[in-house]
Symmetry: D3
Subunit: 315 residues, 6 copies
Amino acid sequence: MPTTLPENSLKRPRFCGINTFMRLPHTTDLTGVDAAVIGIPFDTGSPYRIGCRFAPAAARAISVMLRPYNPYHRINVFEAASFVDYGDATVNPGVTEESFALIEADLAPIVEQGVIPLGIGGDHSVTLPQLRILASRHGALSILHFDAHTDTWDSYLGQKYNAGTAFRRGVEEGLIDAKNSIQIGMRGSLFSPEDIDQSLRLGYEIITTDQIYDLGIPAVIARIREKLGSRKVFISFDNDFVDPAFAPGIQTPESGGPTAREAYLLLRGLGGLNIAGADVVELNPSFDQSQITALFTATVMSEIMALIAISKTRA
Amino acid sequence: MPTTLPENSLKRPRFCGINTFMRLPHTTDLTGVDAAVIGIPFDTGSPYRIGCRFAPAAARAISVMLRPYNPYHRINVFEAASFVDYGDATVNPGVTEESFALIEADLAPIVEQGVIPLGIGGDHSVTLPQLRILASRHGALSILHFDAHTDTWDSYLGQKYNAGTAFRRGVEEGLIDAKNSIQIGMRGSLFSPEDIDQSLRLGYEIITTDQIYDLGIPAVIARIREKLGSRKVFISFDNDFVDPAFAPGIQTPESGGPTAREAYLLLRGLGGLNIAGADVVELNPSFDQSQITALFTATVMSEIMALIAISKTRA
Amino acid sequence: MPTTLPENSLKRPRFCGINTFMRLPHTTDLTGVDAAVIGIPFDTGSPYRIGCRFAPAAARAISVMLRPYNPYHRINVFEAASFVDYGDATVNPGVTEESFALIEADLAPIVEQGVIPLGIGGDHSVTLPQLRILASRHGALSILHFDAHTDTWDSYLGQKYNAGTAFRRGVEEGLIDAKNSIQIGMRGSLFSPEDIDQSLRLGYEIITTDQIYDLGIPAVIARIREKLGSRKVFISFDNDFVDPAFAPGIQTPESGGPTAREAYLLLRGLGGLNIAGADVVELNPSFDQSQITALFTATVMSEIMALIAISKTRA
Amino acid sequence: MPTTLPENSLKRPRFCGINTFMRLPHTTDLTGVDAAVIGIPFDTGSPYRIGCRFAPAAARAISVMLRPYNPYHRINVFEAASFVDYGDATVNPGVTEESFALIEADLAPIVEQGVIPLGIGGDHSVTLPQLRILASRHGALSILHFDAHTDTWDSYLGQKYNAGTAFRRGVEEGLIDAKNSIQIGMRGSLFSPEDIDQSLRLGYEIITTDQIYDLGIPAVIARIREKLGSRKVFISFDNDFVDPAFAPGIQTPESGGPTAREAYLLLRGLGGLNIAGADVVELNPSFDQSQITALFTATVMSEIMALIAISKTRA
Amino acid sequence: MPTTLPENSLKRPRFCGINTFMRLPHTTDLTGVDAAVIGIPFDTGSPYRIGCRFAPAAARAISVMLRPYNPYHRINVFEAASFVDYGDATVNPGVTEESFALIEADLAPIVEQGVIPLGIGGDHSVTLPQLRILASRHGALSILHFDAHTDTWDSYLGQKYNAGTAFRRGVEEGLIDAKNSIQIGMRGSLFSPEDIDQSLRLGYEIITTDQIYDLGIPAVIARIREKLGSRKVFISFDNDFVDPAFAPGIQTPESGGPTAREAYLLLRGLGGLNIAGADVVELNPSFDQSQITALFTATVMSEIMALIAISKTRA
Amino acid sequence: MPTTLPENSLKRPRFCGINTFMRLPHTTDLTGVDAAVIGIPFDTGSPYRIGCRFAPAAARAISVMLRPYNPYHRINVFEAASFVDYGDATVNPGVTEESFALIEADLAPIVEQGVIPLGIGGDHSVTLPQLRILASRHGALSILHFDAHTDTWDSYLGQKYNAGTAFRRGVEEGLIDAKNSIQIGMRGSLFSPEDIDQSLRLGYEIITTDQIYDLGIPAVIARIREKLGSRKVFISFDNDFVDPAFAPGIQTPESGGPTAREAYLLLRGLGGLNIAGADVVELNPSFDQSQITALFTATVMSEIMALIAISKTRA
């Protein structure tokens, strides 16, 4: 019987107590734990609306609204698997590569104990150190990357490591198996066609926002499942995948995206994926006056947690 | 000829004058009145983001944007029926059962004069005292309950009367004819499957958000009309029925819901219902910086008023 | 080779430098220029939530997020045509007709040099002076008018010139060829059926929001293209065309509208229109805490710019 | 015994009921009434941050916090004199001179019945129509004008009537007895020394913010009392008199002003003034997220009401 | 050597990690602890702007800005004494007396172990359960009560227990030694002179805001020290003691108060008081967009902690 | 006669046109120019509430409220000296030392032409590159540093270059003549006494906030003038010098500071200083909902510009 049940919100009000993710225990003891939520409050990689350093706190605050039973998968997530809130990775604001090393160091004991790390960014640069430590254990990973942008520039503002380059660096460093990876949601204006082509050349398959609508969600789900199969997958979810109406509090808003419901439908179709890790990134609380982006971030993560829970059940 | 026409916004600017709902006359004289809007600023029943006490004022403020002619029903609502703004019920913040008695007392003269009460909450606990006074006149009512949540817990935080229990209490107290009632819009994480099952056991029919999409809006409308027929109906509309993008300023946000347009399409399909009363609840102005939730609240109420107007015309 | 390329956001951060629209050069030298963005910060015509005078600044600020390549038309907009930011027209707040004269005077050199003016309002009254100067060159124009409202009242609050009358005045003054014009997006409550009928009598074709959904976007696009053909068209886009969830920061919010994506799909279908001018109006930054309305305004304008660019390419 | 006592906030919660100023009765029956609060929601005269049209509603909303007993004068204001909330004057946004006529027409019955009008602006242009109707009864009035600016320009943006000219127009029209009037609080950058000199030439005495501190508040009070004596006085209070920290929600913020407490000390020293009318202007709710400017506006008005109450008691 | 040093913000960024008060350890193990910060997120007692339930979280979030060394007392607070963040008391929203019992139960182990409880409200009703548990150990306490209001009504809205009655109930229940207690800061409009007189009759000494300025801060400090001497004191600090400019995010704003600096000067003069407990109450984050009220709350608490630290040093 | 007069706000509304600082011409042609305002949108050095990259835009936006005549010095600033808005320095977000080099490169032509640079930060790290380029021309400078904090840590979060270290680095690099420099305004909690002592050891004179009040402003001014004499001075003004009530939108709020008026009184006393350069830093628009911090920033800069203007006049 798991000892990591969240606090019961039918018994103690959600606003009582120091916020942890979904009211899970805050601990770094990973004995018997399946997956650990970890905040990665790094935003030095943000080219525009900076402030994602406050995202883990904002996501934790509203995540107390979420309940343990996922009716779409008919599963009590926390009875099926064991989750904890591991706290935050340490970062050094303004010093990117050192921060990556710090993040890797903090993630190492999680990954080494076979626990799935679930990162809450931070800007999208934080995916790279997560992949580094995961690949050191699992080898190159398949990626399922939800985003309006490809983030595969060689450099951005002359920099090798920031929110626009992680998905190229990951391939170059051998962390990402691009041939077995999908980028989904691309839309909006580009610097040039190269923004997309560079991903294709790296080996990624791209499903644009328009293609999601053209194919329909069931076909998109089928395509993802077919491509990723039983490979070790890292799901990286950038909040700008959805329209700013559903996620106003982000770094790089891109108007004209899917709805929150469509995002959840996609995620709920992915039961059985072999998830090695995941992150939800680019929540900027300074532009999230009504907490809807924070709630979206937390809900996306909770849907990923449900995917993990059903894998544990089936296993 | 009705003497209760709202002030004409083509003649006097909407921002002139003390706000009443849709610029209707503010009066407690109900002579010849068909329906009366009444604020019920009670929020002690709120388990989380409290502040619905300011909802009636916020709804009145933006409601001046709404015009008298409903093009979907091709009717001038205020020529077809007579509406007034009755003001607010008195409540006693922090004292739930006394407040229910106060609300009942303030609603009594409305109901006793055969006038339809149209409540603007307040948190969802306020539906119970409305049902009590209405059932005292009409007997048990059919309910059409728009909400992301069932609100049929036996107790919530150990309490019998708050925003999570009204739709069980109403059945227990014989106010609700659950067998002829529908709860629509349920979605999101649950405490357990019991959250839904308890409603089914009480006799409610449930149409989840997923089912709205699966069936399609016309089929949902047909089902509602078939079930409710010509029975006396109370429509209770919780703003969290729609996605937080369309109603950010609420108490219990639940990401992934329908759009505002979809809500209106459902309501516009209900012409001919025999409406005994209605409320729109859970508007929290503290999280509604751009007034879109207040406008949504007012528009939902105005669509319900149009349903009443066409009934009067047909009658 | 155009000398009016915007600053490259891959080289210099978007937040560096004084904001111009999409980082275009700010100049009044129109040599070789195809189209000029001009702010028209006039809001005296606003009957309700006033403050559109700050819209050009807000649109410029977030427009730096937009990139030069439009993937839907597969074109680098700024290589295909030459655009500049012309600055703002001068207005005199509180003095409508004088302001119209000032706006006309500032637009005159643009129109006289054969440059397409692209106005950022301001409230919707500013369309009239734009049409006056354009019609003085082109004769009566076809109009493609995106809006929740017809704006064809004879007077509004007793006034001949404000945000509710421009599309009647334009017909009366011979600036608009209503028989070859379309108003699209009407929805919500009306003062009376006359709100729509008056447009029809003036000669406009109306496609309501409901009709957009009934016909489907491809059919709507086909109808627009059929009607407007190769005529000189002025596109006037009121932000309230979309639901307030996608554009909360406006003057006259009307709940229940299309999504931002649907607006872009419509615009992207209009390649080949013979655009004489365009405006995007009614952005009110005071109600746009997360900048999503400003981003929507800028994106709509950028899609219109793409339409101009492909015309130049094909010509 | 007055029949115009405000609702008792110890008995009925302040948030219950449609807001009137300080919960006074809303009526246009002035029988036995000493002074009437009237909203004047006109803001067409605003050169910069426009939106004061929503000020009367905002002031009423928070004014419910104020209680009837003024401990500084040891008087129950509403037992000593009779006050009502008269509602709002009608204005025509965008049409200044017509609006002035409308305001005068709405004020006329108040002034004609010998009731003191207490205006809540609106921008500072609204003082002129108030003075016109008052001077028609009382002749030229002494003015006590609290403001960071003199508002005595001959024209502002070429206009004779807006927020920057009322205190010159009033002299020119014979409404203001400048020789027996004081402008207090001037500070901050000027267009030229003429900004001050023009007031002096018109006959005003000026006490700058610096002079308030140099003289000390008791001496300033003494000087005001000496100058105004028993003359009929109109008190016009622009919220920008205080530092923006104490009144952020205004049209023309001027940093570096007195505190709220200092403003109240000045007002509390003026018992015995012969007040013919008063206004508090330039509250802009769009920049008043925490309601402190609205509360300041309401408190200033309540202190003026106390001055009226003690005059009635002594008379 | 204390084992309860806060995390070092020169080593790990303040935004890393789950927020505790001033980055102290979060523990319920009180071995060797001198004082424990405890959140009391109860706001059912709020008559107006409700939402203090979120105050402990907001205070913790910004409290990370505070550093361990207090230069006014020349002491490293956390080396001189041992503090922890005990978490939050459990409350039951909407059920006042049950919540008081829960608060008492959660405070009991703190008080029983001789640890000083430092409460972060919550509305001002929460002082009563704190006093109950403290008096059960120490007998009736002297009170030093900073507030704009006396909070000594017999009932408020008919209720015996809410934010307006705690300082009468405390006397009646024998928890407060009113004869040796001071209420400081009263100002603003009253319901009647009784608002003050009732406190005097209960035995309190009152120092109004005006008296603070008349006497001067040093004399006020001297008077407090003289009166309280070495008695066991409970300091209760309502944020509305200062002007809303310095604390906009509160329940009952009262314009015209002291500055933040003046509040700190008063507190810093109280070294040597025999503090049995303290609270800081009435922070409402919904009206605190810039966190200045949360920072004020945290700073007031940190100054009280410094007073405790110097007592420990001297002892 | 200067050709660099700002646009006249009596002629063209302040909201018309692309914002430049105080509506000065935007140019990089420095012929005949005395001082140039330059934005330095760098915030990578921010340890906490990041976002100062948007400060130059925010300061420009509200700076249009300021007028050319300074009544305290009785001077038309723009007739007495010639100022321009030079635009922004280029920075590379996330790469501190490269950004410093970029800032130096952009400032070089200003300094080399003998023009006084007036920087708008940016976080406080940006003072260092400004000093580097200035010292390369003038040698070590006297500093007048307004701030709540000393910013003389050897490293902060292990970093040599960020918002907490510039005033040590400047001494170490020989850019600052600490023996002839003053740091003024220090207050609030410290990491240790070393926070102050380290400045004293470096040679700075410190005047704390308490000392400002103890000495009185005239004495403080005298002390500054005595110490700085006719030396080349760089004025560095951190907005946290004043209380957060007067500057909520900053990076490191420190409660309990002076008022805005007190800051201006200090600055206005400094006529005759030999100013080589100046900056105003740490404006964070994300926490500045009402623009009062932006207005404060702009007003401080305008007071410094007045000091420069009177020097030019006297010279």
